[in-house]
């Protein structure tokens, strides 16, 4: 049962390991307040993507509890799946289709009816500057336009929690600014954002709370201003290097 004061996401005593590998998380805990713009950062191999997949139910933990607005996150839990939107790093749509066709299909799969899909499609394409190319095949689009389509699909059902995995990778400055502004707008309308990226300057513009994870554990977590003040650094990049070191983090191959 969802409670009024439930955080957007609460992870308690989480353990997870990939088959044949040492544990990536053991007794891991994290809480994302509702309405926040939460940044999740860490070097390569820190476990960000795995954590994102555990939070969205794409992976199942061997132990522990993950709750989204008080609901347990279990694979195929339709009520939970309606609560969040996922914008993966990979472009997750059909390039053979137009933006309208993609939004219609993913909108239906998100549980929306025909009328709502039409309204949201018009709204999103206008906001994201894709109205003029609404019926063109996405395969013909630039990288920035594709990123905006990727974002539109993830938020068509007005999710209360939005997972963003590198949403601006490979786009120009204008597109990045437009996406960041739109994400802030979504947050002001009540959506919680969980964001991960290596673009730390962008993260500083967007996030109000951050968690730094390294080797499956949280090394720092607080409001961004508090963290910068506590560690006497001027920016997120300095804080990142101070807490995670300067050594390369190549994964074992």
């Amino acid at each position: 049962m969802e409670m009024m004061n439930d955080p957007a996401l609460r992870i308690t005593d989480l353990s997870f390991r990939y088959p044949g590998q040492p544990p990536l998380f053991e007794g891991f805990g994290l809480e994302v307040p509702a309405g926040s713009r939460f940044g999740l950062f860490g070097p390569n191999g820190a476990g960000k993507t795995t954590l994102m997949q555990l939070m969205t139910g794409l992976l199942t933990a061997s132990r522990g509890d993950i709750r989204m607005f008080g609901e347990p996150v279990i694979r195929g839990h339709r009520r939970v799946n309606r609560l969040f939107g996922f914008i993966p790093q990979d472009l997750a749509f059909y390039e053979e289709l137009s933006p309208v066709e993609n939004l219609t299909f993913f909108g239906a799969w998100s549980g929306l009816d025909r009328v709502t899909i039409r309204e949201r499609t018009d709204e999103l394409l206008t906001i994201l500057g894709l109205a003029d190319v609404r019926d063109k095949k996405v395969a013909q689009f630039s990288g920035g336009m594709k990123r905006r389509v990727n974002l539109a699909i993830g938020v068509i059902h007005r999710p209360r929690l939005i997972f963003l995995d590198e949403p601006t990778v490979g786009v120009d400055v204008q597109t990045r600014a437009a996406i960041v502004n739109y994400l802030k707008q979504l947050n002001s309308e009540g959506s919680t954002l969980i964001y991960t990226s290596h673009q730390l300057s962008e993260a500083e513009q967007l996030c109000d709370r951050v968690a730094l994870i390294d080797q499956g554990r949280i090394v720092a977590q607080d409001a961004l201003d508090n963290l910068l003040a506590a560690h006497r650094t001027e920016g997120l990049e300095g804080l990142f290097l101070q807490l995670t070191g300067k050594a390369y983090r190549d994964i074992d191959v």
């Binding site: 799946n81 309606r82 997750a92 749509f93 219609t104 025909r114 095949k137």
Partner: protein
């Protein structure tokens, strides 16, 4: 319901924009049906328009050899290419090696004499058995056919038949059978003439000879059809069902690899986070591709019924029981789609889906009787044949197209198809469950 409709709409759009996939699913089978039917039809029409070239080198100058060549020509199976009687056996071999003809026949110089001697020998034995005076047997004597030769030399017929190694055994047997038939005719004629002459001491009248030799009893070919209304099936009716089934199963190239592509695509991650089961996607693909297979069958049947006669190929006579034809086509299509989905669920890469899908269908088609008739297969293949879904599809279609059957006549073929479909669907469901996709 709207989710399913939206998914079908998406699948149809993706399909229609895949031009190569459409060519594979529609263009290739049409081309295949056209080519295979044309080739098989020309084989069916060997006695008629398309004749086999036969070099004829006649070293004999007697009347019997001329009769023999005429009889060979009269069969209608061969196009005779006379070679100078002075040509050597090596030159015949050379011509065949250069593929001027695939068959060559050399008639020896003593052919007429040998036939005549054989006739005289047989006549003598007949007279002896009747208790009549005979100078025949193994002796020497005159013959209406020509020269004198010892009857003891006639045991082997020394006509040499040369053939190119590319000629298949079955084809060679047909050619040999035709030549033996012509030989039989000239031998019988010669024996008759000799016997008549020995009894009446005058030549056999032409009218009587024609009466005796040409008054043959003919075989009346009666195709055993269930409705009793079908006449002999033609090459189109033999080929269209086979290649329609083949085309249906080849949707694996589009559907099987499409499922793999979707699984490996970023969109699949998103689909897994949405409040809809992947079973909807699988159901949508089943329905979309089922319509594709029905469209394939409709297009190929229409070409057989309306386009083939225009281009000189035999017409496809569509079975009268339309409901049975629709049901069999629907089941064949459903089986093909189930097979493709099963491949798509278990394959990890598009290469696996395409490679295994295509090769396995060729194998299933071969053991299912689509390439070689099932009655011609070795006994050890009969069990494997019953495991091929294409076999049951073909048997059901043949029951309708060739035997003129109705729905009640093809139930025995439809039931195994149901079982195979259920097994494929069950296997796909298990695979999806195991991979946590549904």
């Amino acid at each position: 319901m709207y989710k399913l409709w939206a998914t079908i709409s998406k699948d149809v759009r993706v399909l229609l924009r895949d031009k190569v996939g459409l060519i594979c699913m529609f263009g290739m089978p049409i081309l295949l049906v056209l080519i295979v039917t044309s080739i098989q039809n020309s084989t069916f029409e060997l006695v008629g328009k398309n004749k086999v070239s036969l070099l004829v080198c006649n070293h004999d100058t007697g009347a019997v050899s001329r009769d023999f060549v005429q009889a060979v020509d009269h069969i209608g199976f061969f196009q005779l290419l006379p070679v100078s009687g002075g040509a050597s056996d090596d030159s015949i071999s050379g011509l065949i090696r250069h593929k001027d003809a695939l068959l060559g026949m050399v008639i020896p110089a003593d052919f007429s004499a040998r036939i005549a001697a054989k006739a005289k020998s047989v006549t003598g034995k007949v007279q002896a058995s009747f208790g009549l005076d005979s100078t025949g047997g193994g002796g020497l004597g005159p013959s209406p056919g020509g020269g004198l030769v010892s009857g003891d030399d006639t045991a082997d017929m020394p006509v040499a038949l040369y053939y190119h190694p590319i000629l298949q055994a079955s084809f060679r047997r047909s050619a040999e059978g035709a030549l033996y038939s012509a030989l039989q005719l000239v031998e019988s004629k010669q024996i008759l003439r000799t016997l008549y002459f020995s009894l009446n001491e005058k030549a056999l009248p032409d009218s009587l000879e024609r009466e005796l030799l040409n008054n043959r009893t003919h075989l009346n070919e009666v195709p055993v059809s269930r409705d009793g209304a079908r006449d002999l099936p033609n090459a189109t009716e033999h080929n269209i069902p086979s290649w329609t089934i083949f085309a249906m199963f080849f949707v694996v190239l589009s559907l099987g690899s499409g499922i793999v592509r979707e699984k490996r695509n970023g969109s699949f991650i998103r689909l897994k986070t949405l409040p809809t089961s992947y079973a909807v996607a699988i159901l949508s693909k089943q329905l979309t591709y089922l319509v594709v297979t029905l469209a394939q069958a409709a297009v190929i049947f229409a070409i057989g019924a309306w386009i083939f006669p225009w281009i000189g190929l035999p017409v496809l006579r569509v079975p009268g029981d339309w409901a049975a034809l629709f049901l069999v086509t629907l089941l064949c299509g459903w089986c093909a789609v189930s097979y493709a989905i099963c491949i798509g669920v278990f394959a990890r890469t598009e290469e696996q889906a395409n490679g295994f899908g295509a090769v396995s269908i060729v194998i299933l088609a071969a053991i299912g009787g689509l390439m070689v008739p099932s009655f011609a297969m070795p006994g050890s293949f009969h069990l494997a044949m019953t495991l091929s879904p294409l076999h049951w599809c073909l048997e059901a279609y043949y029951g309708l197209f060739l035997e003129g059957g109705r729905l009640k006549d093809v139930w025995a073929n439809i039931l195994p198809l149901f079982l195979i479909i259920a097994a494929l669907q069950g296997l796909s469901f298990w695979g999806l469950k195991r991979k946590n996709l549904i």
